[in-house]
Symmetry: C2
Subunit: 118 residues, 2 copies
C-alpha cells in the first residue's frame, strides 16, 4: 500500500503519523468532510460537493480510503450504474478529532489575521 502525504520512517510507531497518512493528501479531507455531512452520496454527487476534483483523484482517493476502512462502497447492479459512498463507523469516529483540530485551526487563523492587521 502506498504512503501518501506525510510519509515518515522514524515515527512509524507513532499512531499520530499513521493517522496523518490516512487523512493526508490533497483531497481526502474534503471528501471525508462531504461524506460526514450526508449519510450516503453517489459518485457524481460527491464530485459536485468536492469542487475541483477530477475523476482520477476522486476514485483514487475513495479506493484508498475504502482499503483503509474509512469509507464504505456499495455498488448496485443496475443500469445505469449506481454506487453509494458513506463513512464507516471508524470514519465517523474520526470526526470529533477533526473538529478539535478545526477549532484550533480557527483560532490560529484569527491570530494570523491579527498579526497582519497590526
Amino acid at each position: 500500500m502506498n504512503d501518501k502525504g506525510t510519509g515518515n520512517k522514524n515515527m512509524n510507531n507513532c499512531p499520530l503519523t499513521y493517522a496523518l497518512n490516512l487523512i493526508g493528501g490533497k483531497w481526502r479531507l474534503p471528501i471525508i468532510w462531504a461524506l460526514s455531512q450526508n449519510n450516503t452520496l453517489r459518485y457524481n454527487e460527491l464530485k459536485r460537493k468536492v469542487d475541483g476534483i477530477t475523476n482520477m483523484m476522486l476514485s483514487q482517493s475513495l479506493k484508498e480510503m475504502e482499503n483503509h476502512g474509512l469509507v464504505n462502497r456499495k455498488q448496485f447492479m443496475e443500469i445505469p450504474p449506481r454506487v453509494e459512498y458513506s463513512l464507516t463507523e471508524e470514519g465517523k469516529d474520526l470526526i470529533p478529532a477533526l473538529e478539535s483540530l478545526a477549532k484550533w485551526g480557527k483560532g490560529m487563523k484569527n491570530k494570523e489575521m491579527d498579526r497582519c492587521n497590526k
Copy 2:
C-alpha cells in the same frame, strides 16, 4: 506565505484545512512532538531528537512554524551561539487535538493488522 502539504483552494474557509497546512509536511509533526516533551530545546538537541532530519529541513521547518506562531525562538547573543526553541501557548493548545487524532490512528492501525492477519 507558502502552503505546504495539503494545499487546497476550495476549502480555504475550512479551518481544518488551515490547521493541516500548519502541521503538514514531513517533519513538522515530529518536531512539535519533540518540543512538546521538553520545555525548551537547543537546535542540536532538537536535531538529535528528530532522527534523520537535516539542517536544511530543521531550520526551514522551525522558521515556518515560528512565522505561524507555533514555535518560540529565543536567541542568546553569546559565543558560541545558543538558540532555544519551545512551543508557544498556541502550539501547546494543539497537543490535545493531536492526541485525539493519535488515539484514533492507533485504533485504525489495530484494525488494519486484524485485516492482514485474517
